[in-house]
Amino acid sequence: MTPLALALRRVPHAVILAVLAFAILGPISNLLLWAFAEQWYFPYKLPVTWGTRYWEVVFRPSGDAMASLGTSVAIACFTVLVCLAVSVPAGYALARLKLPLRALIMLAFLLPQAFPNLPVYINVARIFYSFDLNGTILGVVLVHAVHGLVYSVWITTASFAAIDRSLEEAARGMGAGPLRAFLTVTLPLALPGIMASAIFVFLESLDEFTGTFFVGAPEVTTLPLLLYTASMAGNYQIASITALILLVPSVLFMLVVQRFLRADVLSKVGR
């Protein structure tokens, strides 16, 4: 085959890759343009004045953005803690013990995803109102945790199921009690999967909008809520910069998750 023919064979791949790259990166490049535009109006194809004035607005210590970033991260961390507190024991039980209705329990965690979000959150908000949970960090954390539990329970169950049971038996046989065997053998081996699920929960919480809006607003302002308010007010620069800030942890963590989630764990998800 001639070099030209070889090169021609690569053309379809290149076209597909370019389309894919544009679909993914196109919206982001628009965000980038807006983030550095100080003035941009019709009919100009590119910003009229460039600058970093809005970055200073966003990153001003007294600014809303920094405060809501703090709130967002705090809520995400608490959500991770709540989810892990449930999913580590639940995942171990679901993976190891012969529970009746095991499939049903797994399904129950999926249920909140099955229904349309809006009616669920409106009802949650009504119920939380009677518990004085509306507008509190705790309320928002609980809403996020319901969402996050699907990931954490399913992935944690899979990571426990992927561990050879004879490892625990060997540890027990060598004199370790059940707790010691769990802490020194099972838990360290399940840790990559648990970390991956924690990252999913963290990112879900960081991005979550609907539930936060109904349960948390206006007292609790997370970054997505700020983004929404900014873009509704026509302040595209603030909105774009906020969106870019939200993008950073997502991309970073996705790279990490990809290393944590091994094939043997993934193959056990949902079993």
């Binding site: 050879d164 004879s166 490892l167 038996e169 060997a170 540890a171 027990r172 046989g173 060598m174 004199g175 370790a176 009690g177 010691r180 020194t184 053998v185 360290p188 081996l189």
Partner: protein
């Protein structure tokens, strides 16, 4: 009885899950320092029996005594035994030294003693150079050695092994067989060893317990079981190729081989419903007389050849030293000594006593 107290006694042990009985009324004992092999085909209950002795599986009925103490319901750690798993069960996140020392750390053995015991065991198993490696960086044979080292460092008098060699290739398996047996004798360990490989059982065991469908089929020393099998199952499970079993029939003047035209009498008495058993190495080629068979095929092994012949319509294997030049369909004259012949009842598969007529003068 005082000597026996140091060994292991298993009495009427049984295990059932719902309606399925995996182990039924199993009774055997191992004396201190003995090497016992639990042998049987897959699904015969041998691994379940071992797991009950290890305390990894709750017992449905019967009792287990180790060193004179009733441990039937004791947790694994209190039984004073160590176990080698088929999968080796090495902790992948710990290195070789940490794997071997796991049990000692759990039992809070002092650092100086730990180091000294680690050194001794590592020398014994040839792992001294590999202590810092993770299990994933070891070969199959090396992993097997780590599992062994982890079991013997505990210095428990009893060691249980669940098919420890089944993941190794044939050559390594032979080496490890010799090594495990030597180690067991050197340390005076009492070993219960589970395998489906009759070669392992014959070559390593002081005592073999052969299991089938959850029950003990026969137990005894390898020599006893090979020389005097109680049942057809034992007769065919031990030995490669297995014992020849030839159907008999009633004939004039005694039992004859079923379907043979020149019906020469091979045994006194009843022939119908009986099987004659004779091991391939006990069948000899005669120059004249004997039973006439037709040569069918020859399987050359180097030191000897296993010849398959047709005795009437029934197949019979015989072991001939060296190479055998096969002429297909050639006439062979076969014979055996009366004391090498076994008789079994066809229906029950049990041994029965009958007088064989000598086929070799």
């Amino acid at each position: 009885m005082t000597v026996r107290l140091r060994g292991i006694q298993v009495e009427s042990l049984s295990k059932s899950w719902g309606n399925t009985q995996a182990v039924k009324d199993v009774t055997f004992s191992v004396e201190s320092g003995q090497f016992l092999v639990l042998l049987g085909p897959s699904g015969c209950g041998k691994s379940t029996t071992l797991r009950m002795i290890a305390g990894l599986e709750p017992v449905s009925g019967g009792s287990i005594h180790i060193g004179g103490n009733d441990v039937t319901h004791a947790p694994p750690a209190r039984r004073g035994l160590s176990m080698v798993f088929q999968s080796y069960a090495l902790f992948p996140h710990l290195n070789v030294a940490e794997n071997i020392l796991f049990g000692l750390k759990v039992r809070k053995v002092g650092r100086a003693e730990r180091d000294e015991r680690l050194k001794r065991v590592a020398d014994m198993t040839g792992l001294s150079e590999l202590l810092a490696r993770k299990p994933a960086q070891l070969s199959g044979g090396q992993r097997q050695r780590v599992a062994l080292a982890r079991a013997i460092i505990a210095e428990h008098p009893v060691c249980l092994m669940d098919e420890p060699l089944s993941n190794l290739d044939a050559k390594l398996r032979h080496e490890m067989r010799v090594e495990i047996r030597a180690l067991q004798q050197r340390l005076g360990m009492t070993v219960i060893y589970v395998t489906h490989d009759q070669v392992e059982a014959m070559s390593m065991a002081d005592k073999v317990v052969l299991m089938r469908h959850g029950r003990i089929e026969q137990q005894g020393s390898p020599e006893e079981m090979y020389a005097r099998p109680d049942t057809v199952f034992t007769a065919t499970f031990l030995g490669t190729p297995p014992m020849n079993l030839i159907e008999l029939a009633d004939g004039a003047g005694g039992a004859v081989i079923k379907g043979m035209t020149d019906a020469s009498v091979v045994a006194a008495g009843q022939g119908d419903g009986r099987l004659l058993g004779v091991r391939p190495e006990h069948v000899v080629l005669l120059d004249e007389g004997g039973l006439t068979a037709r040569a069918e095929s020859a399987d050359y092994h180097g030191a000897d050849t296993v010849v398959t012949a047709l005795l009437g319509s029934q197949r019979i294997n015989l072991r001939v030293p060296g190479r055998f030049a096969l002429e297909q369909g050639a006439e062979l004259r076969l014979g055996w000594r009366a004391e090498d012949v076994h008789f079994f009842d066809f229906e029950s598969g049990r041994r029965c006593e009958q007088d064989a007529l000598p086929r070799v003068a």
